[in-house]
């Protein structure tokens, strides 16, 4: 979807965090984060203070976009899982529900097989939450954003 907004409310945000924490514990990983395909960080769990999550989110989205471009060049729809192996830490990157990117960073305490298994399981939960978000987007939203004034916007630059 190119237009519009992705709106996340408290209920679904907390549900996503619960799912990420479960994945973090069950996969024995260091950090887990969820990013949208445009590179915005949605939620994270684990030792996030050790990482620049904003940059990670942006580069992950770029990575998925670039490999998606490669996939279409060879007639594939998408490469839905990427795995990067480092000397110390590894990254498992997967596309969830065609819209979000789930990133797991883990070291030798875990394994790619275990991470892949756990990711597959939580992907189902995340897809369900996404459906709730979409359903919520249909409801009338009483928001503060619609009430933004020129003065509010101008105040950002003072």
């Amino acid at each position: 979807m190119a237009q519009g907004q992705f709106i996340l409310r408290e209920k679904e945000y907390l549900e996503i965090q619960t799912v990420l924490k479960k994945l973090l514990a069950n996969s024995y990983s260091k950090v887990v984060f969820l990013v949208d395909k445009n590179g915005a960080l949605i939620a994270s769990a684990g030792a996030t203070e050790d990482f620049d999550t904003t940059s990670l989110a942006s580069l992950t989205a770029g990575n998925i976009a670039a490999t998606g471009g490669l996939a279409s060049l060879i007639g594939e729809k998408e490469f839905s899982i990427l795995f990067h192996e480092g000397e110390r830490d590894n990254m498992h990157i997967s596309v969830v529900a065609n819209r979000l990117i789930l990133v797991v960073i883990f070291d030798r305490r875990s394994s790619v097989g275990l991470v892949r298994l756990r990711v597959r399981r939580v992907a189902v939960d995340l897809e369900r939450i996404l459906r709730d978000i979409d359903a919520g987007a249909q409801r009338e939203e009483e928001g503060d954003i619609e009430e933004l004034t020129e003065d509010d916007i101008e105040s950002l630059f003072k």
Partner: protein, 196 residues
């Protein structure tokens, strides 16, 4: 597509600097990076070739404070300007909320400006965006060089939507923040309307 988190009270928007090769897109971001308060900006990432030409994108995250209790975060991206990187440009444009078109004012670069603007229209249309509605700001860069087109000429050639336009010298910062401020305003007004 902007991302609004009502739980953490955050608004995230994506702004893309577009334009022909060597027009100064990366220079805009570098100047913003140098001049912003370090607390308001994150790390700048440049995926460039060994000769400093943008290969995939530059990325600079900014946090500009709060409106209506929402923290505002803007992710600035540049595209690679060289013609043959079109596949990369399309990827970076995905989910864009606002565009700065940076034109090279030199007379010899007019064809490249027009070609890049047309390419922007095509790529926006391909991803389902309306090139006539997306928040857009024009920047006429390199005003300090000899043999540049007049603003009136550039306006007639490029600014068919009559959007806000700014003269700039990105190397010294002239017009850089004026351009940024204008596109952020347009993006927030668009957000208020509920997107396109």
């Amino acid at each position: 597509m902007s991302f609004i988190n009502y739980s953490s009270r955050e608004i995230n928007c994506k702004i893309v600097y577009y334009g022909p090769g060597l027009c100064g897109k990366t220079t805009n971001l570098q100047y913003i990076y140098r001049r912003m308060n370090p607390e308001s900006r994150g790390k700048m990432i440049s995926l460039a070739t060994e000769t400093e030409r943008t290969l995939f994108f530059d990325f600079l995250p900014l946090s500009l404070g709060e409106v209506r209790g929402f923290k505002t975060r803007f992710h600035l991206y540049t595209v690679p300007g060289q013609v043959f990187y079109d596949a990369s440009r399309r990827l970076i444009l995905r989910g864009v909320d606002g565009v700065v078109f940076s034109a090279d004012s030199q007379l010899t670069r007019m064809d490249s400006n027009v070609e890049s603007l047309e390419n922007l229209q095509v790529n926006l249309r391909e991803q389902g965006d309306d090139g006539n509605k997306i928040p857009l700001v024009m920047q006429y860069n390199k005003r300090d060089l000899p043999k540049v087109a007049s603003v009136a000429e550039l306006h007639a050639l490029l600014n068919y939507r009559n959007v806000p336009e700014f003269e700039a010298v990105a190397t010294t910062g002239v017009g850089v923040f004026e351009t940024l401020k204008a596109v952020i305003k347009l993006v927030l007004i668009d957000l208020k309307k509920g997107g396109r």
